[in-house]
């Protein structure tokens, strides 16, 4: 009996002492799963640099805990690697938060793990609406295509477009963009004269430009993945005389800051609806961009940077309230509002996706000669319009 009591005492004191030391100085690990190698390495690079900036500005200590980031490369869209990386991070490293996720399959593959381990996963990019309903531990600080394409449609209707042809890459995000734009544009009294779906691998867009011209539309809404395809598309748009023929261009992420310089003068005048512009006029954004340039000269802040920056901000906020309690952290995140470099943001308590302003931007040359996405109008507080629980 005596021994039992003693043992109990020992256990209790041990538990208390570890609990108190834990509260004092615990290292909370955050696992970042993204693409750091191969053709899509730009995602991981942007994520890491933005995290560097955030840590440089805010330190690596939250409420007495040290925050440590562990990076895992999955080399592109690869569900197998993503799940194995998450499993390793959770089981061996004991991470309390997951983050990153550039591609949709990579995020969906870890959904069951987040539920089993009760670990919040903050998505920095992957933008399919369906992701967040896969696990109640998913939070997202990027955008969805419905969130952007519907405001783009409203703006097109408002600025006088009557007949629009949609031209999207033939894969899931493209189809999402097409659906969101079409339904919203028709609701606003416009007509969709043709829906063109272009193969993902296409780099010669001249035939599609002919179809756009022949359709008699007065505007084109385009969605292509950022990269060579976008580059070739905007080039073809100018070279085939669509701009000269008065067919205006509406898009979303086509004028991404990392590829804008490569597009050059032909990008000037392109109108896009997007949730972030590196030229956003706010004190916070200026300091974010300046710090990024200081730490990583030659880098450009873009939507991936701001997604990671706000994602880490959200993780810090969750740690402050809930420490390592995943369930509590997600509850705390719901409805959270704060000021981000992109403008005011709020986590939707239902979809756990970020509610944010969508800006209508036009590409122009800034005073210093660089190309920027100049914000010309704001559609405030847009939620994920494609979310259906």
């Amino acid at each position: 009996m005596k021994f039992k009591k003693f043992a109990l005492c020992a256990v209790v004191t041990a538990a208390f002492s570890t609990a108190s030391t834990m509260a004092l100085a615990e290292t909370i690990k955050v696992g970042v799963i993204a693409t750091f190698s191969g053709p899509n390495a730009i995602w991981g690079k942007q994520f890491r640099e933005a995290i560097d900036v955030y840590v440089a500005q805010h330190g690596d200590e939250v409420a007495g805990n040290k925050v440590e980031f562990i990076y895992k490369d999955v080399g592109g869209p690869n569900a197998d690697a993503s799940k194995a990386a998450a499993q390793e991070l959770l089981v061996r490293e004991g991470v309390k938060y997951l983050a990153g996720f550039d591609f949709t399959p990579n995020a969906i593959a870890v959904a069951p793990l987040t539920k089993q381990a009760k670990v919040p996963a903050v998505i920095f990019n992957a933008g399919t609406s369906a992701i967040n309903k896969q696990s109640e531990f998913f939070l997202r600080t990027s955008f969805t295509l419905s969130q952007l394409a519907q405001p783009a449609a409203q703006w097109a209707a408002k600025s006088g477009a009557k007949k629009v042809v949609t031209a999207v890459s033939d894969y899931n995000p493209g189809i999402d963009a097409e659906a969101a734009f079409s339904s919203s544009f028709e609701k606003n009294g416009g007509a969709i004269v043709e829906k063109i779906r272009m193969p993902l691998q296409t780099t010669d867009f001249a035939p599609f430009m002919q179809r756009i011209k022949a359709s008699g539309a007065d505007a084109v809404f385009a969605f292509l993945p950022v990269g060579p395809a976008t580059f070739a598309f905007t080039k073809a748009y100018n070279e085939n005389g669509l701009k000269a023929a008065g067919i205006s261009f509406y898009g979303t992420g086509e004028t991404d800051e990392t590829t804008l310089d490569a597009l050059g003068d032909q990008a000037i005048g392109l109108v896009t609806a997007y949730h972030y512009s590196a030229a956003h006029d706010s004190e916070l954004n200026r300091s974010f961009v300046a710090k990024l340039k200081e730490l990583h000269p030659g880098s450009h802040a873009n939507m991936a940077s701001v997604g990671a920056y706000d994602g880490v901000d959200l993780i810090y906020k969750m740690i402050k309230v809930a420490g390592t309690d995943g369930q509590k952290a997600v509850e705390a995140a719901k409805g959270l509002e704060w000021e981000s470099p992109r403008g005011p943001v709020k986590i939707d308590p239902v979809s756990r996706h970020v509610i944010q302003n969508v800006y209508i931007r036009q590409v122009e040359r800034a005073a210093d000669g660089t190309l920027i996405n100049k914000e010309i109008a704001t559609i405030p507080n847009v939620p994920d319009l494609g979310f259906n629980p």
Binding site: S37, G44, Q87, I108
Partner: protein, 329 residues
């Protein structure tokens, strides 16, 4: 004299043991890995699945001498088949594996009938094309495959009705190792059978084999279908363990990686496939863990060194060492 007969009898005994030996080696190695690295089972499971996949490629490249760059076609079809079966028909993992094997064999048969008539570069090109067509099909058939978002929500019921797939990945690891052992025993038997010898003959000189009456084309299609079934099993395993199939299963880089792993290990040797996969994936994992941004350099250098120093792969290292030592005195 007695010495020689002794040796012969030992060889005979070894010959009888041959199919059991690899199973023994793999299970001992797996058990050691299981005990030493209890936190890395997810990664180890990926290695085991990849081993099965590389073994299947060894049958066609190493044994029959058919060089393709489209082996991911069978892997991907197996993965989708297993995923679809578990989503719509039955969630038993073994039924999923069967579906994967059938799908892999089927696509290998259909594509093999065409592409095995070609040779050399043409064969490489057609095999790449087959995989690309399949990838495009998977991307377009959104109603069936989920397109670029992937086929999500695959769940499998407990193995044999008893062992539930756990969070740490113990069951998944043991399950994959068992399948690997079964595949390895099958490949050993196949390699030493008359059929396996015919394949080696075809690899050496197809025209001579034709001259002695071997139906070369039919043998090639047969081995292609068998390899396809095994690749399908590997894909099915991956689908069950990950719970999601993306269109990336048809990526060209997967087909290329498989070839690299086999060359690193040593083509035409079953253990070569295992060693190559192990070394490639472990070096990849460690290098990517130390420096997630520049690890490709390490892989590149490793490949260069191995290809120059050991053209027949890592598995030839002991033979090379012995040869070197003998030459010295």
């Amino acid at each position: 004299m007695t010495n020689a007969t002794d040796q012969v009898s030992i060889r005979r005994k070894m010959g009888r043991l041959a199919p059991v030996l690899p199973a023994l080696i793999v299970s001992v190695a797996a058990a050691i890995a299981f005990i030493l690295f209890p936190y890395d089972l997810a990664f180890l499971t990926r290695i085991v699945i990849m081993m099965i996949f590389v073994l299947s490629f060894d049958l066609i490249l190493g044994y029959a001498g058919i060089a393709t760059l489209g082996h991911a076609a069978m892997y991907g079809c197996g993965a989708y088949a297993a995923g679809l079966v578990s989503l719509h028909l039955a969630s038993d993992p073994l039924i999923g594996l069967l579906a994967g094997a059938v799908a892999g064999a089927l696509i290998a048969w259909i594509s093999g009938c065409v592409l095995l008539r070609a040779q050399g570069v043409a064969l490489l090109m057609i095999s790449i094309a087959v995989t690309m067509v399949l990838q495009e099909t998977a991307s377009q058939a959104r109603w069936l495959t989920g397109g670029a978002d992937g086929l999500a929500g695959i769940t499998v019921s407990p193995l044999l009705g008893m062992f539930e797939f756990d969070f740490v990945g113990q069951v998944a690891f043991v399950y994959s190792v068992c399948i690997l052992i079964a595949v390895l025993i099958f490949c050993c038997i196949l390699a030493s059978s008359p059929f396996g010898l015919a394949l080696r003959g075809i690899e050496g000189s197809a025209s001579r084999m034709r001259a002695i009456g071997t139906p070369v084309y039919r043998r090639k299609v047969t081995v292609y279908v068998i390899a396809g079934a095994i690749a399908g099993i590997a894909g099915a395993l991956a689908a069950q363990v990950t719970g999601l199939v993306g269109i990336e299963v048809f990526n060209f880089s997967l087909s290329a990686d498989v070839m690299v792993m086999l060359i690193v290990g040593g083509a035409g040797r079953l253990y070569g496939a295992l060693v190559g996969t192990l070394v490639f994936m472990v070096v990849h994992h460690i290098a990517a863990g130390i420096d997630p941004f520049n690890w490709l350099f390490v892989i590149g250098f490793m490949l260069l060194i191995i290809v120059f120093a050991l053209p027949k792969g890592l598995i030839s290292l002991p033979d090379r060492l012995v040869a070197l030592l003998r030459r010295k005195p």
